[in-house]
Amino acid sequence: VYPQLKDEMKSLETIMENDSNSKEPKEPRKSKLPWKQRNSIDKPKMIRASDEVIFKVYCADHTYTTMKMRVDTPASRIIRLAADKLGLRTDQPDDLKLCEVKSTGERLLFKESDLSISFGLSLNGRLFLAPGDHLDALVPLPEQEGPQRGTWQKLEMFGSKELAYAITMHDYDLFMAINPHELLYQVFGRYKYGKITSNLDTFMRRFNEIQYWIVTEICLTPSPGKRVQLLRKFIKLASYCKEYRNLNSFFAIVMGLSNIAVSRLSLTWERLPSKIKRMFSEFETLMDPSRNHRVYRSTLTKLTPPIILFMPLLLKDLTFTHEGNKTYLIEGLVNFEKMRMLSHTMRTLKICRSQTLQLQVPQGAKNLSEIQEYVREMNVIDNQRILNQLSNKLEPRQT
């Protein structure tokens, strides 16, 4: 659609190259399944195109094959190899389609040229392979529904400050692994460039993961008393994340608590101490999107780096600037105003990452290694319908 954009990206990349302070690891390494429980707690590192990733591809009958491929393997090749391994044959070889089935049953088809597919899946999404005219028959696996029991007992043992610390340390590693170019690929149309955006995908996924974790845990805590305690803990957790300048998780937590499945639990909310309630309404003010997130933007300018910023808004700003403004003016003249605006937004990211995070381990921290392991991979329900049902069971609708 925009053949000229390719050239433009190249020049943008050159500009960014000088800007970029990202350090690429020298050794290729294996990336694990994004949704798979990790045994060790290795620090997440930058994912590179040449890394190998392990993922599963399912058939309509829920049998699967495990694939191990480079991150930048295009969908077309995954289709071919998975079809061989699964013994799927069709009369027309092009007829097989690779698609994501979300926990809601929604299906998203991949284009043959799509790359780095396993990182781009939704939280409980899975990859399926099927003939084009059988896609309607694909249904989610039972495991995609998410957990049936919460971890409130475990969370009772964890301090909110320690949790915030562990979450922030982990988020910081994911945040620093993002290559700024990935943001441009994402905004300009990721599939035009044949480059991976796995690090950005992972960070975006993290936002959703934290958010649904909050909703899931509240909805899976049957005892009203325990639920009040957990709600209180999550509000304090948000407060510590804010203190640590981890705004991405701060927003994820607050948005999780504002999710209809949580916010409607009025019997739970009314039992909160008024101080905590006040704290939460202050947080909601920060999240207020009116006047283009004015409150958040002015808060951001007052903080000093390192800051883990609220990524969804950065992406929105870039998208808005890109979609709404012509790249070329008359006679192929580059719209520098637009480029300047894009670089202005990109610079925000650079400033936020300009200092190394040095957090002190909270005093008297208990269970820290257990907490660190816990926050790395959260088991969540990402289907709003199920969450609403659970919530309605906890506090039935008043008539």
């Binding site: 809601t104 929604e106 998203l108 088809l109 905004v187 149309g189 975006m204 936002f207 959703n208 958010q211 649904y212 948005m255 999780g256 504002s258 999710n259 209809i260 309404s281 909601e284 003010t285 999240m287 207020d288 999107p289 009116s290 006047r291 283009n292 004015r294 969804p312 992406l315 929105k316 700003d317 870039l318 998208t319 808005f320 600037t321 979609e323 709404g324 403004n325 012509k326 003016l329 719209n335 105003e337 637009k338 605006m341 937004t345 609403n388």
Partner: protein, 221 residues
Amino acid sequence: MANQGPYNYSYIFKYIIIGDMGVGKSCLLHQFTEKKFMADCPHTIGVEFGTRIIEVNGQKIKLQIWDTAGQERFRAVTRSYYRGAAGALMVYDITRRATYNHLSGWLTDARSLTNPNTVIFLIGNKGDLDGQREVTYDEAKRFADENDLLFLETSAKTGDHVEDAFIETARKIYQNIQDGSLDLNAAESGVQPKPSANPRSANGTVGLDGTGQSGDSKCQC
């Protein structure tokens, strides 16, 4: 803005624009609001932007439009924008069937997260690419009728029907106010009378634009 005083309107209506990635949500918004900036800002629109004052039945109404472009992967973030929306523009791309197939998901969100009076307008965008069409007008029209949605095909590129979609939505909201089916005192109606007449509402989420109008939606040229 010089000849149109910032307080010179009777209502604020809040809109949200939703739909899949790449259907042209931002383009629609730009197309609709650009006119206002045409004179002094021909090329480039900053992110501080998203309002326009229109006239319906002789009443000046300020539309405050919340775009969700770039945030499609954060479904839960877009959900936070629904609160207090009086109008929702639900956009798909007539040349990409998948974006049409996903409408039911967007509609579920819009219905469950807004009040029953929220006007939902279905927009089939990229009407200028008729040759690559994958969704017929009739099919989408049927879907709209079945779900009680207003419907138009637009082109954010040429500007065709863009204005109509935004204004028809406002007209419908205004009509709901007139016939009393939309209660302005309801916390999340998405409509605010003139700022002076309405100090901050109790829940603190709709008291948007009371002060400092000048900083709002300014052109960054």
